[in-house]
């Protein structure tokens, strides 16, 4: 789907900007990186939701008035163009303000109704333990703690004597951003509801679930590690993408990149540097 490609393109552009900002003269510009990370997050939401909707179509969701379904059918009416990325978002409303609304909607339709985000996370982790883990996702969690401290503490205030809390503590106490968790919840709910293509979807869902747990550790990963992984993944992805525009989870390279994308906490890349 072209929307997925567009969202993906925006994500790669955004990451490129974050990466380049590190080598720019004058140091990292907090404002610009914040804005780029917002776009990155929105693009990722679209990408993930898009990905989900693709699987959802196969599952013949019986959800009526479902926001994703509506946007999906609306999307098909739009011809592909450079402005797609703008319009897709306008129907999807990826704003953080919208998240509580979406979450409510999911809960209404979901058998596994959970009252808050923390429960949501633990549900996934529960599932996660029962499913196979992806090796790529695992690699990213193994970054040594020593390398974490340096980028996190580099912007320490010279004027103020405060001491930033240790990165590990931050990482563990930090909850993954709401929209990310929501989409994972939905995926897991969908998985439990329908049994179509269980093998393929289970694999994807489980790796997503795994990444949810990984996300916490990713928050504290070394930024350059992430960018390196992404760099190689993206070049691989782009070549495969052109060959198979409708690439599904069969492609291991695709999975790798998708997982990297889902794994990515846009905040960490931009903000950890500070």
């Amino acid at each position: 789907m072209e929307y997925k490609v567009e969202a993906h393109r925006i994500m790669s552009i955004s990451l490129g900007k974050i990466y380049n900002s590190r080598v720019q003269r004058g140091g990292i510009k907090l404002h610009k990186n914040l804005l780029v990370s917002l776009v990155l997050r929105s693009a990722r939401q679209v990408y993930l939701s898009d990905y989900y909707s693709g699987a959802c179509l196969n599952a013949q969701s019986e959800r009526e008035g479902n926001e994703w379904d509506i946007t999906d059918s609306e999307r098909e009416k739009f011809p592909p163009s450079a402005t797609e990325c703008d319009r897709v978002e306008s129907t999807e409303e990826p704003q953080p303000n919208e998240q509580p609304e979406k979450e409510r909607e999911y809960r209404e339709n979901d058998d596994e109704v959970k009252s808050d985000q923390v429960d949501c996370t633990s549900t996934l982790q529960e599932q996660n333990q029962n499913s196979s883990l992806d090796s790529v996702a695992k690699v990213s969690s193994e970054t040594p703690p020593e390398s974490i401290t340096e980028p996190k503490e580099s912007p320490s205030d010279s004027a103020v004597a405060e001491r930033d809390s240790t990165p590990e503590a931050n990482g563990e106490s930090h909850q993954p951003p709401k929209p990310y968790v929501c989409s994972n919840r939905k995926r897991s709910a969908e998985e439990s509801e329908s049994g179509d293509s269980p093998q393929k979807r289970t694999k994807v869902a489980s790796s997503n679930a795994k990444e949810d747990e990984e996300a916490e550790e990713m928050d504290t990963s070394n930024v350059s590690n992430l960018i390196t992984i992404f760099g190689s993944s993206f070049s691989g992805l782009l070549s495969k993408e052109s060959a198979k525009p409708e690439a599904e989870a069969e492609d291991s390279g695709q999975i790798c990149c998708d997982q990297m994308l889902k794994n990515l906490n846009p905040w960490s890349t931009a903000i950890v540097a500070f």
Binding site: I13, K29, H31, C85, R87, I271, V272
Partner: protein, 454 residues
């Protein structure tokens, strides 16, 4: 309450001001040296002096010639008065960061004596400069020759009193104060208080209050840094003191909000007195909504009743007594809304446009792309697009209004959106405090336009 959307109804005619070319400063070369890129423009309080700062850390001050009364047609010109290197590139060894010498802002102090004072700032350090004239020098020292060499005491047979003799005017700039180490993040604004003793400086997350005489201390008045940086959602983009109320200042954010703070309320003004925010128009929601709502500039009106904000696509006028929406909204270049994706790719969406008021707060001005700038007349509900171009550089040549064709059939004299040059951007403009004289900075040139005199 007014809630007007100004659109172009008609141009020219009537009592409209017609702008004509006066001067252009800077290299004609198409090849722009990065150090020559103008980064700030500011008139002083009388309008007699016009200061520019550039990426190379230099400040150039132009002075208006006293008008020739016998020849009213001959408009007073601005000529170079002083040039000095304000900031040098620095290196922060602790963080392995280079600190750019680019001048982010210049603010003049009100004149108190014969000398002029201005504040200039780069990303980290603010400096107070004294610009003074010297037009006489002492001559006739007993112990020294005119060139400064000491005379042989044995040759001195008489004594004389040294006298001042006229000399060619020399303008000296000397740094009187250096306000360093106050900011961890990049300074985006400075603003002199109406009390003429203090000023504020703002970076992405903090605002500090300084005393002009004291360099080793500053008070932090706003701090929006979250305990966990990963929770960061907005940054401070601009800040300014109220023109008359020395206890009041505003700061704008990347989320499109403006907070008004009263320093009498508490020492740390984290709690705002007023929050100005317009609810987002859901029909305009897009992928890049968050970026384009970021405010790049905030300016109080001269009378202190209004403030103006500039975001990527529009200019908004706010009444300080109404927080829930602006009283006026002007679209600067709405035709760019459908191009946001491309503008994100080429980084133009991050351009920070400034805006300014005219002397009586009836017209506001802001820049755009293709070396276009916009004059938005509040009283007459008219707006016009003009261009700063070397092609309209004949003396007193009247500027012709420009039109951009958003789509469909392009009329004659219109320029289509796709033909716009996004490398030619006007980010910085300034308006003379009393007269209809404007300074418009293109990438490396400074244009001065004046009102057509009949």
């Amino acid at each position: 309450c007014l809630s007007g959307i100004a659109t172009v109804t008609k141009e020219g005619g009537g009592n409209d001001v017609q702008w004509c070319f006066s001067q252009v400063k800077g290299a004609i070369d198409d090849d722009v040296a990065e150090a020559d890129i103008i980064s700030t423009v500011e008139f002083n309080h009388s309008g007699e002096l016009l200061a520019t700062g550039d990426k190379g850390g230099r400040v150039v001050i132009f002075q208006q010639e006293t008008e020739n009364k016998s020849q009213p047609q001959c408009r007073s010109e601005y000529n170079v008065y002083s040039t000095f290197q304000s900031h040098e590139p620095e290196f922060d060894y602790l963080k392995s960061l280079e600190i750019e010498e680019k001048i982010n802002k210049i603010r003049w102090l009100p004149q108190k004596n014969a000398a002029q004072f201005l504040l200039s700032t780069n990303d980290k350090t603010i400096k107070l400069w004294k610009i003074s004239e010297r037009d006489k020098r002492p001559e006739g020292y007993n112990l020294k020759e005119e060139d400064g060499r000491y005379r042989d005491a044995a040759t001195i047979t008489t004594l004389r009193v040294p006298v001042f003799r006229p000399m060619d005017l020399m303008v000296e700039a000397s740094p009187r104060r250096v306000f360093a180490n106050g900011h961890t993040y990049h300074i985006n604004s400075i603003s002199v208080n109406s009390d003429n003793e203090t000023y504020l400086s703002a970076d992405d997350l903090r605002i500090n209050l300084w005393h002009l005489e004291i360099t080793d201390r500053s008070f932090n008045v706003v701090d929006i840094k979250p305990a966990n940086m990963e929770e960061l959602t907005e940054v401070i983009t601009a800040a300014e003191f109220h023109p008359h109320q020395c206890n009041t200042f505003v700061y704008s954010s990347s989320k499109g909000t403006i907070r008004l703070c009263d320093m009498r309320a508490s020492a740390l003004c984290d709690k705002h007195s007023k929050l100005f925010e317009e609810p987002e128009d859901p029909s305009n929601r897009s992928f890049f909504s968050e970026i384009i709502s970021s405010i790049s500039d905030v300016k109080f009106s001269h009378n202190g009743r209004y403030m103006m904000t500039r975001d990527y696509l529009s200019v908004k006028i706010w009444d300080l007594n109404m927080e829930n929406r602006p009283v006026e909204t002007y679209q600067v270049h709405e035709y760019l809304r459908s191009k946001l994706c491309s503008l994100y790719e080429n980084d133009c969406i991050f351009d920070k446009f400034e805006c300014c008021w005219n002397g009586n707060d009836s017209v506001v001005m802001t820049g755009s792309y293709n070396n276009f700038f916009r004059m938005l007349d509040r009283s007459q509900r008219r707006d016009v697009t003009l261009e700063a171009s070397r092609e309209s550089c004949k003396p007193r040549q009247v500027l012709k209004p420009r039109r951009v064709c958003a789509g469909g059939k392009r009329k004659k004299d219109e320029i289509s959106v796709d033909s716009l040059d996004f490398n030619k951007k006007i980010l910085h403009t300034a308006w003379h405090p009393q007269e209809n004289i404007i300074a418009v900075a293109t990438t490396n040139n400074l244009y001065i336009f004046q009102e057509k005199v009949n």
